[in-house]
């Protein structure tokens, strides 16, 4: 039975505006439109507030609790947050880490997002994979042990069409037990069609919940529509998608505010679509082709990242926390014990990169270049079992 989501009266757009989390400045009287209100609130957070937040039932969400946990005052409680997050994650997920691999299908793009290596303004030789090339890549991925694959593409609707994705998913079904996608926004009918074709999860980052920043960073192309982007996870859930992946590109604006907005979005989706499972990812701005790191003044330290991950875990006991190979190996290894439940390994973010025949440009620099087998070994050393396959659609005769 598909989620009907009939009874939540308020949509996410209104929730964010009312809470003053989208810098539209529409609702709070003392709000001057650039999220200073929440930053000021967090500056005022005292140790007592953090302790109160930590004594609330672990894994339960309240906005006030998260404000305390992402505030500067909570930095002194990081070890405690980490311990609680570690214990809670083991309790809910076991001593396991799921592994997945991204399959980049194209880097042709009609958007011009300022932070991205695939920005249409950047001049480089673009690559798209035919279905057969994509299947070759998938074969390499499968031979590494993966059974969970994420199809990734830039805004290349002309070539990476719905039919293309449906055909590819159909052909991958026999080899992969879980197929998700991270591609451009679609409408409900398209999501429903791809769900039927075998794609069960959609990852779609809002990138930033701050409307003004969003406008700046996405000046052109279909992705420049903030509201359509914000609504897309609703559409995926209504179409039956079982996994919803949320995230912001950390470093575009203040991470503390973004975490609050991200949590409100997740909470809204969890309440409205009770049969879908929400995950968070943590893409942190990293150097990319033609995009200079020093342009961005909100970059997160490792400490900030740990605080964000543990704070979210303490508010969402059952959400997936996903880590990609953007992060360097030593940090990833530590984060395994801090609430992470899913990781990629041996990733190639350039289309055709797995079969080694492409000199195509990567979306971002990989900082963990270890092979999947090496990553699996490290996971085992940390006392966890790497899980390649979590479910098999063969169980339900699909």
């Amino acid at each position: 039975m598909v989620n009907s989501g009939k009874h939540v009266c308020t949509d996410i757009k209104t929730i964010l505006a009312q809470k003053g989390l989208d810098s539209s400045g529409r609702s709070l009287p003392e709000h001057d439109g650039d999220n200073k209100h929440w930053l000021q609130q967090m500056e005022k957070t005292r140790p007592g507030d953090v302790e109160r937040a930590l004594s609330e039932p672990v894994g339960s969400y309240s906005f006030e609790k998260l404000v305390a946990l992402v505030s500067p005052a909570a930095e002194d409680y990081l070890e405690q947050m980490a311990q609680l997050a570690h214990q809670l994650t083991i309790q809910r997920f076991g001593r396991t880490i799921r592994l997945y691999a991204p399959l980049y299908l194209s880097n042709y793009c009609t958007n011009s997002c300022r932070y991205c290596g695939f920005n249409r303004e950047h001049k480089f030789e673009r690559t798209r994979l035919t279905i057969d090339r994509a299947l070759e890549e998938a074969q390499v991925i499968a031979s590494e042990g993966f059974r969970d694959i994420l199809l990734v593409s830039s805004e290349d609707r002309g070539f990476i069409t719905i039919d293309y994705l449906a055909e590819l998913a159909g052909k991958l079904r026999s080899r992969f037990s879980s197929i998700s996608m991270e591609v451009y926004q679609m409408n409900s009918a398209e999501y429903a069609e791809l769900f039927k074709a075998g794609i069960e999860g959609v990852t779609l980052y809002q990138e930033t919940y701050d409307r003004r920043a969003y406008r700046y960073y996405h000046p052109a192309g279909p992705k420049s529509d903030y509201d359509d982007r914000l609504d897309a996870p609703d559409r995926t859930a209504a179409a039956g998608m079982r996994q919803i992946g949320l995230g912001v590109l950390l470093g575009l604006t203040d991470w503390r505010i973004e975490t609050l907005a991200l949590a409100e979005h997740a909470h809204y989706l969890i309440k409205r679509y009770w049969q879908s499972h929400v995950s968070f990812s943590f893409p942190r701005l990293r150097p990319a082709h033609e995009v200079k790191g020093s342009q961005f003044r909100y970059l997160l330290s490792d400490k900030n990242l740990v605080q964000m991950i543990t704070a979210l875990r303490l508010c969402f006991a059952d959400a997936g926390l996903v880590l990609s190979t953007r992060e360097c190996a030593p940090l990833r290894d530590r984060l395994v014990k801090l609430g992470i439940t899913k990781m990629s390994a041996g990733s190639k973010t350039n289309p055709g990169g797995y079969s080694g025949r492409s000199g195509a440009i990567e979306q971002f620099e990989i900082d963990d270049n270890r092979s999947p087998a090496q990553v699996a070994a490290v996971i085992k050393q940390a006392g966890f079992e790497p899980v390649w396959k979590d479910w098999d659609s063969a169980f339900v005769g699909v």
């Binding site: 039975m1 009907s4 009939k6 009874h7 939540v8 007592g48 302790e51 109160r52 930590l54 004594s55 609330e56 339960s60 006030e64 990081l78 070890e79 405690q80 980490a82 311990q83 570690h86 309440k271 409205r272 009770w274 330290s301 490792d302 400490k303 740990v306 030593p330 530590r334 014990k337 801090l338």
Partner: protein, 257 residues
Amino acid sequence: MDKLIIADRSFNSRLLVGTGKFASCEIMAEAIARSGTEIVTVALRRVDIENENDDMLSAIDRSKYLLLPNTSGARDAQEAVRLSKLARAATGINWVKLEVTPDPYYLLPDPVETLKAAEILVKDNFVVLPYINADPILAKKLEDAGTATVMPLASPIGSNQGLKTRAALEIIIEQANIPVVVDAGLGLPSHAADAMEMGADAVLVNTAIATAADPLAMAEAFRLAVEAGRTAYISGPPATGRKASASSPLTGFLRDE
């Protein structure tokens, strides 16, 4: 206390009261008044032809209380739907407490028949308040079907055992987008306060008030307990003691930043 909103109506009281098991209509009416309730449940029964004096409805001032007929006695969806329609014909309002209890010993509600009946009644424009066991999935399915609330039991009707289904109630309260009314088995005012502190939107009490030695005082006690519990819930809990951690095995590496 913040207002309770069910369907399109708002209420000041979060205590619903049942009218069964009282020694007399007069005591029942006075207990209802002392409880501060605004919603009162009643059952439907065949008129006793031999004894005219069994009309209790006149004791309830319908301008002050919303009459909420229940379908107690129904053993399947069909009977529950029939009773609901009779109730609507009698009162002229379309609110119904859906109760389908095939088991005469514990009076536990039948989940399958309850869901079936709820779907039929919602389509027929009833405002449905379904009585269920504390089953979180059933609660979501009823919500999807369009019921106005869910009413999970704390323990079997009349058992006065309190919140035996606490763990499941917590999940229901966390997941629900409609009001959660904890109904059945609340034996003491502290049980009611506990339910409200957990985040329940309201509670329904019958046996504990009706069969108390002093029902009027007990009704008053429940009124106070529900108010206290709700006020506590919206005021936020205090911090419970926590030991600080001396060493930092998980985050020590960050100090090198």
